[in-house]
């Protein structure tokens, strides 16, 4: 039984930092302790020395990444990027020009706009930043086989082995920065024997190269605590105690430091100083399926080729299954000895991974494509993997009939046969203007759904639309099945419109005046009219201009 008030020693031993404190005798009160190499005998001695093989890390810190990532992609130049925190939009970064006009990080978007009304702003896009960082990691791999990606904005390159190849430290660094610059990125680069030290130096904007581990502590000591990237609460607390630089931290008693700021931070300092190993994960590229099948000799037999393709598809299926992915696009490339390669792209209405579906599509395409020459090699390349969405099957109740071919498969097959651009669906649109009340929809939409689709709001869900139509009574309205592309003016005789004879107005008017908010506003009175030949027509009188009559549709 522990009675804490009386036996503080036992409590101390039970504390989280016991591993460190237990080995030591209770220190005299005022002695400066622990973290400096001289005093840190016990903890440091118990730990493995920095890795046996000398490492040298070059850190590329990209403080301007949020802006640079956007500028690479955006069509218009971006002056500043903002992000949203607790509902407040604040400037995160600004170009030098914008900064000169007073647009500082931390300024609210409104204040920035008050300062520079024409400011081009964009929201921060972390996904895009990460893509940029990944891309840069791929680029950096040409300098070393060991690249580490440290989100949000840091790359670490282990360069000990590359120095000779690239002509030494300074030459390598210069080349890296130059190439970064040509890609539109600016980095702060620093070199140190441990990855953390390199990172902190880079964050502090120091261009220092530290090669020898024994120089580490001296240099790191001068860095401000702000470059440690610790949470604001921790740095604020440190600040409140008058601790400004890493050296100040190192002078603190180890146990007291760990108790206040966490043992993990203590370990971080140890790692940075090379007293603890700091293993890192190597960056590797995302996988995308691509497989080849080389043939021993040229083949023109389509049956055989299909069988080979089937094998490739089977490989793909296994690949996808293992990763719980599906793809919406495939590409087969058939290589010939003499002719340029033939490429066949396949798309489906939804993400698929079943080989059978793809094979069927391929067969349809194969029927229509004549290979210019025999094939020596086949490559199958899959598109972007998408997470698979499972569909539930149906219970086969009696009387429901044979489950037919899903419409999606029909569409795919049609598209494979006549080309994707020739297959459309028709969608209704909640709109009073007849010309806008429907639209064509691409059947095989393979591109990921873009946020700025022309009329996203018009993609009304069917039941909702029906309910709306019922509510507004538009289900009761008469609409012709055949609409003219553009209303055709009608001649008038004695004030009455004519179309192969004078028209008799049977019902109406149905007045439609709306759409004033774009350039296609209308104000029309629609009528159902009958001409002498007994044809029902949909005509209107334009209420805006001259009051002329137009034919808009034919009922039959």
């Amino acid at each position: 039984m522990v009675t804490p008030a009386k036996t503080p020693a036992s409590l101390r031993d039970a504390g989280p930092t016991s591993a460190v404190t237990r080995r030591r005798k209770p220190p005299p009160a005022q002695q400066s302790l622990a973290l400096t190499p001289a005093a840190g005998t016990a903890p440091a001695a118990g730990l493995p020395r920095a890795a046996a093989t000398r490492q040298l890390w070059l850190c590329l810190y990209l403080p301007g990444l949020p802006l640079a990532a956007l500028q690479c992609a955006a069509a218009e130049p971006v002056d500043a990027v903002f992000d949203e925190q607790q509902g407040l939009r604040r400037i995160l970064l600004a170009t030098p020009a914008a900064a000169a006009a007073g647009v500082h990080p931390g300024l609210s978007v409104n204040a920035a706009l008050a300062l520079v009304p024409g400011l081009q702003l964009a929201a921060r896009c972390p996904a895009r930043e990460q893509r940029s960082l990944q891309r840069l990691a791929g680029w950096a791999e040409r300098y070393t086989s060991f690249v580490v990606v440290e989100p949000p904005a840091t790359l670490l390159l282990e360069i000990a082995a590359s120095l000779r190849l690239f002509g030494g430290l300074q030459a390598l660094r210069r080349q890296l920065l130059r190439e970064l610059d040509s890609q539109g990125f600016a980095a702060q680069a620093a070199i140190a024997p441990t990855p953390l030290a390199a990172t902190w130096l880079a964050r502090a904007g120091q261009r220092r190269c530290i090669v020898r581990p024994d120089r580490l502590s001296g240099t790191l000591s001068t860095l401000p605590v702000a470059c440690l990237d610790w949470p604001a609460a921790v740095t604020d607390a440190l600040y409140g105690m008058g601790i400004r630089c890493i050296g100040d931290c190192l002078r603190l008693p180890r146990a007291g430091f760990a108790r206040r700021f966490g043992a993990a931070r203590l370990l971080q300092l140890d790692r940075a100083l090379g007293r603890l190993p700091d293993p890192r994960d190597k960056y590797s590229l995302a996988e995308r399926f691509c497989a080849d099948r080389d043939l021993d000799e040229e083949q023109a037999d389509s049956e055989l080729l299909l069988r080979l393709c089937e094998q490739l598809l089977l490989q793909l299926e296994r690949f996808l299954l293992a990763r719980q992915l599906a793809v919406q696009r495939l590409q087969f490339v058939f290589y010939h000895l003499q002719e340029p390669a033939t490429s066949l792209a396949l798309g489906s209405a939804r993400a698929e991974r079943s080989m059978a579906q793809w094979l069927e599509l391929l067969k349809i395409r194969f029927e229509r494509v004549a290979l210019p020459a025999p094939v020596i090699s086949i490559r199958l390349r899959a598109g972007r993997g998408q997470p698979l969405t499972a569909t539930s099957g149906r219970l086969g109740f009696a009387g429901e009939g044979r489950p037919g071919v899903p419409i999606a498969h029909l569409v795919e097959r049609l598209a494979a046969r006549v080309g994707e651009r020739a297959v459309h669906g028709v969608a209704t649109v909640a709109e009073h203007r007849p010309d806008y009340a429907w639209r064509l929809r691409r059947a095989c939409d393979d591109t990921p759904r873009c946020r700025t689709e022309p009329h996203p709001g018009h993609a009304h869900r069917a039941p909702q639309l029906l309910a709306d139509m019922r509510r507004t009574g538009s289900l009761l309205l008469q609409r012709p099945l055949w609409m003219l592309d553009a209303p055709a003016p009608l001649a008038c005789r004695d004030g009455r419109p004519c179309y192969e004879g004078a028209l008799e107005l049977r019902s109406g008017p149905e007045r439609i005046e709306t759409g004033w908010w774009d350039e296609a506003g209308i104000a029309r009175d629609y009528y159902v009219a009958l001409n002498p030949a007994g044809v029902h027509l949909w005509v209107f009188r334009d209420r805006t201009g001259d009051g002329g009559w137009y034919l808009h549709g034919i009922f039959g």
């Binding site: 804490p4 008030a5 503080p8 409590l11 101390r12 209770p26 220190p27 009160a29 005022q30 002695q31 400066s32 007073g102 978007v109 409104n110 204040a111 706009l113 008050a114 300062l115 009304p117 024409g118 702003l121 607390a237 409140g240 105690m241 008058g242 601790i243 002078r251 603190l252 008693p253 146990a255 007291g256 108790r259 206040r260 909640a430 709109e431 009073h432 009329h455 996203p456 709001g457 018009h458 009304h460 709306d468 019922r470 509510r471 507004t472 009574g473 009761l476 309205l477 008469q478 019902s507 008017p509 149905e510 007045r511 439609i512 005046e513 709306t514 004033w516 908010w517 774009d518 350039e519």
Partner: protein, 1025 residues
């Protein structure tokens, strides 16, 4: 031509649906020759009073009161009040629907109509299915002979079908058909705005709004010829028949005062008299002067004539309750400064002190209800409100509403959004509508925002925005206007839920109540009353006299000396920069001077150019002349310059021949002319009237200009008189009990114009010691401590510590041992404060007595373990590190960051040397410089102010270690150095000294931002727009 009455019309009080003001509907219907118009907003009668007054002053034959309801799981009905009883039913129905749902919505089910709504007529509005659901057959049974089928035809291509089917249905059900319009706007041209409102309501862009919009713009007040083409004659005739069967006007509404205030067997008049006499004896224990008894007698007579006894009794009751709870209060408003109110204790302004005539405030001819607003301590007003609810019940007491209307910025935002502009574009545009733009949206502002005002989208945006400005958007609660009635309030006006839980508001706002002669008592909160009561308490507890508002020594010349020096930081009303600057020139020497001072430094008199003539005359630089004796009588007390609202009205009566009723209408028009326009008829009448009475045209024009200047800001003398008392009392406290006064102000924050930092600096400049926050001495509130020589010193309270909760601080104070805490650990264990709050104490330097400097305290606190039920005490031995003592600058920075003030040296004292090197002088040097001299001066920016009246001038106050510098930044400079003006914390100025009447300003020529010198010092500027 056929006759027609429109029985179904929505105004824009059906928020985001109706696209016309009620007045517009009424005027248009009258113009079209309609027999009648029913304004039937959805579950609301909010717009009806406006419609009523428009109908009264216009030519509309009959205005019908009604409302539209969409029942849950039921049909849509229009309910029209047939007579007064029907109106009460309608109000009850609306109330029950509104009370059953959250703010802004309603919920009614068929059961709510179970009583059959006698005395109401009903229209059933069929939906597009054009049949009556079998479930809804009850409506035929319930309303039998009072139910019609509304046939609403809007050229949607289905009229024929609709007419046929409804005719069949009518025959089947035995219900007559009537034509109705489902009107949403007064003219077709509002179609675009109506679509816009719909899109705003649905939260969609217009492009996406689809079927939420109407296909056409037929829902307007159609000319009768057109109606004749659309509807069968019989249906139109039926509408007229229905209208003829309705016999109700809002004029019939009779308000009754609560009766229970009068003891059994007494009459209101007798009871009021006895209360007044009792009060007289209390006020004048040595015998009531003859003059006072005469005055009270005269007033009682007047009150009796007008039947206002119950009103005075109601206010008296509320005030008595507050007094019994020790809540300080003070009445103001037209009737508040009567002798009767003084006797009843509603006001503390001694009528003898002012020689006021109650008729200045209540007039026999004007049938205007008396107006008494009562200010209570702002932190305790809620107690008074709860008392009113308790006493009268929620059935009979509710707050008046405030109609929140679209302003340029909100209109622009909403319209921009539905037109599909990006959030940023809209924001950019709305941003550029700076607060000084007035009510119009200006093309040049659009261009400034980088958009093209000539593009079609912008044209639409601006056109729609201009129309939308002024449209009501939702109902909110009035700050404190209570309506209390004798019967259930819900039969007088519907009551609905407010946003605040447990608050209910009626559907009418202040102007509506006034129009119908309903009485309201304003129960308002005033921070200064809290501060004054706290000062009194502190003085008493410190062994001083027991002061009240009534016994603070009057007319103390020392107090007036202080006021004349402009040494008024922290006092009531005359503490603003403009007021301070005016005091040395106005040199108030008596109570009535203060009354004028309060009223004259306001936007109204400043715009009407009354300040300078008054100043010149007061200083004897200009002769005072009166064109006639009548005018002399009205204006002599303000040296010939009309300063008060009452004077303008009196002038209109004596010089232009207005009747008192007309003068009252003039007053109301004055308050609203900027919003609604329309002083036109008054202008002609006023000038013609004065010309006819032999006044010169120029004098008449000048008076009219002054009336215009008054605008919305006109200040009644009665308010001014009440405020002046609080001004005097707060000045007296500042003068004689400065420590107690500032202590009370700090404990009543946030209030007033100045921050805790400025108040304490000012106090120290007046020689009072201010002591820092200390866990072993401070309570939550600031307190008074005795110094060695027996005077009072101010001890800052724990409330000053940012990040410390009131609960935690109180626990700390309760658990504190008599000898104080010994260690931080003991403090933590006893008080149970968690580490964050301990950190806040350490950051504030409040642990200095336990643990030395801040850095060490922070270290100690960070290592404190929170006690758990098992382990309650940690006395751990721990190595304590060497931590640097914070520098003076660091301490000051930390002081400001944590407590908002520092008792150390002023930050600028530390920077003084650097500033001197850059050629900056201090505020101390200003008085020695001649007017017109150039100088450079720098200081912390503590206020930025851009009054609407000052035509683009920004006033900035800078602070340094010696005092303040008042900066005037003209528009041109403000625009050029806008970035500095908006962002600088430490501002350097090149400028010119201007001295006038003892007041020193610096006119800025160039502004510089030296904030970097401050490092991390955070100084918050208070910005007033």
């Amino acid at each position: 031509m056929v006759a027609y009455a429109e029985l179904h019309a929505l105004s824009n009080f059906t928020f985001l649906k109706g696209a016309s003001h009620p007045e517009e509907l009424v005027e248009t219907a009258a113009g079209l020759g309609y027999e009648a118009l029913a304004v039937t907003d959805e579950c609301s009668v909010s717009g009806i009073v406006r419609a009523h007054s428009a109908a009264k002053h216009g030519r509309l034959g009959k205005l019908i009161v009604g409302a539209e309801f969409q029942l849950q799981n039921g049909p849509k009905l229009v309910v029209l009040a047939q007579n007064h009883r029907g109106y009460a039913r309608l109000c009850r129905l609306i109330t029950s629907g509104r009370r059953a749902a959250g703010k802004g919505s309603y919920r009614l089910v068929p059961d709510d109509l179970a009583d059959g709504l006698p005395d109401c007529l009903l229209l059933w509005v069929p939906d597009n299915r054009l049949t009556l659901d079998t479930n809804d057959y009850w409506i035929r049974e319930a309303f039998a002979t009072r139910l019609w089928i509304a046939v609403e035809l809007h050229a949607d291509g289905l009229e024929k079908l609709r007419l046929e089917r409804l005719a069949v249905l009518g025959r089947q059900l035995g219900l007559p058909l009537v034509a109705a319009g489902d009107v949403h706007m007064h003219v077709r041209a509002r179609r675009a705005l109506q679509d816009t409102l719909t899109a705003i309501r649905e939260g969609l862009t217009l492009e996406r709004a689809g079927f939420a919009l109407y296909p056409n713009g037929e829902r307007y007040l159609r000319p009768r010829t057109q109606l004749a083409r659309v509807y069968p004659r019989a249906l139109l005739d039926e509408s007229v028949c229905i209208a003829a069967a309705i016999d109700f006007s809002l004029d019939e509404i009779r308000y009754e005062y609560p009766r229970e205030l009068v003891p059994h067997g007494a009459t209101p008049a007798g009871y009021l008299r006895s209360l007044a006499e009792e009060g007289m004896r209390r006020r004048w224990p040595a015998g009531v002067p003859r003059k006072v008894t005469d005055l009270v007698e005269h007033e009682l007579e007047l009150i009796a004539d007008l039947g206002y006894e119950s009103y005075f009794l109601t206010v008296h009751d509320i005030v008595s309750y507050a007094r019994s709870q020790g809540i300080l209060c003070q009445g103001r408003g037209s009737a508040a400064n009567s002798a009767v109110c003084f006797c009843l204790g509603i006001t503390e302004v001694d009528p003898e002190r002012m020689a006021m005539l109650v008729e200045r405030f209540i007039s026999r001819e004007r049938n205007e209800p008396p107006d008494i607003d009562v200010d209570f301590e702002h932190e305790r007003r809620e107690e008074v409100i709860q008392y009113i609810y308790r006493k009268y019940g929620r059935e009979r007491a509710a707050l008046a509403a405030t109609v929140i209307c679209y302003r340029p910025r909100s209109a622009l935002r909403d319209v921009g959004k539905v037109l599909g502009l990006s959030g940023l574009q809209v924001e950019r545009l709305a941003r550029s509508m700076q607060w000084w733009d007035g009510q119009q949206v200006d093309d040049s502002r659009v261009r400034e925002a980088g958009l093209d005002p000539d593009s079609p989208v912008m044209q639409r945006l601006l056109w729609l925005t201009r129309q939308l400005i002024g449209f009501p958007r939702h109902l909110s609660q009035h700050v404190g206007g209570f309506v209390i009635s004798n019967g259930p309030l819900a039969e007088l006006v519907p009551v609905e839920n407010a946003a605040m839980a447990e608050r209910t508001v009626i559907q009418w706002e202040k102007d509506d109540l006034e129009e119908l002669g309903l009485l309201k008592v304003d129960v308002l909160g005033l921070g200064m009353l809290t501060a004054i009561r706290r000062s009194f308490d502190l003085i008493r507890a410190f062994g001083g006299r027991d002061y009240t508002l009534a016994n603070v020594p009057a007319e103390d010349p020392v107090v007036y000396d202080m006021i004349c020096r402009g040494d008024t930081m922290g006092v009531f009303q005359i503490e603003s920069r403009a007021q301070m600057a005016m005091l040395p020139r106005l040199r108030p020497r008596c109570y009535y001077d203060l009354v004028i001072e309060v009223a004259i430094i306001r936007p109204g008199p400043i715009q009407g150019d009354m300040v300078h003539p008054y100043l010149r005359r007061r200083n004897g630089e200009e002769k005072v002349e009166y064109p006639s004796d009548e005018v002399r009588e009205v204006l002599s007390r303000t040296l010939g310059v009309p300063i008060f609202q009452e004077q303008v009205m009196q002038l209109a009566v004596v010089a232009a021949g207005f009747t008192p009723g007309e003068a009252d209408r003039l007053r109301r028009a004055m308050a609203a002319w900027k919003r609604r326009g329309g002083l036109g008829p008054f202008e002609d009448k006023l000038i013609a009237g004065m010309r006819a009475r032999g006044y010169e045209e120029s004098f008449a024009r000048q008076i009219f200009q002054q009336i215009l200047g008054f605008g919305e800001y006109g200040f009644p003398e009665s308010h001014s008189a009440s405020f002046a008392l609080l001004v005097y009392v707060s000045c007296w406290l500042k003068c004689h009990e400065p420590a107690a006064f500032v202590c009370a102000l700090l404990n009543s924050q946030p209030m007033g114009f100045y921050s805790a930092s400025q108040l304490t600096q000012d106090l120290r400049r007046h020689g009072v010691e201010v002591r820092p926050v200390d866990v072993n001495r401070s309570a939550w509130d600031a307190s008074l401590e005795r110094t060695a020589n027996g005077s009072a010193a101010l001890r800052l309270g724990l409330r000053q510590v940012k990040g410390l909760s009131a609960d935690g601080a109180r626990r700390l104070a309760v658990q504190r041992p008599a000898a104080g805490f010994r260690s931080v650990q003991q403090l933590a264990e006893r008080s149970g404060l968690h580490r964050g709050e301990l950190g806040a104490l350490a950051a504030a330097g409040a642990l200095a007595s336990l643990d030395g400097h801040r850095h060490r305290a922070r270290w100690t606190v960070a290592g404190i373990e929170t006690p758990t039920p098992l382990i309650t005490s940690f006395d751990r031995f721990e190595a304590s590190p060497m931590l640097r003592r914070p520098s003076e600058g660091q301490d000051i920075v930390a002081d400001y960051r944590s407590t908002g003030l520092s008792l150390g040296r002023h930050p600028l004292a530390l920077l003084r040397e650097q500033l001197l090197r850059r050629g900056y002088r201090s505020s101390q040097d200003l008085p020695r410089l001649a007017s017109g001299r150039h100088l450079r001066v720098a200081g912390l920016v503590i206020t930025r102010q851009r009054p609407g009246t000052a035509s683009g001038v920004t006033f900035v106050t800078l602070e340094d270690e010696f005092g303040h510098v008042n900066l005037v930044v003209w528009k041109r400079i403000a625009e050029r150095d806008r970035q500095v003006l908006l962002n600088a914390r430490l501002m350097g100025v090149d400028g010119e000294v201007q001295t006038e009447g003892g007041v020193i300003h610096v006119i800025a020529r160039r502004l510089r931002d030296h904030s970097t010198l401050l490092g991390e010092l955070q100084v918050r500027s208070r910005d007033f727009h």
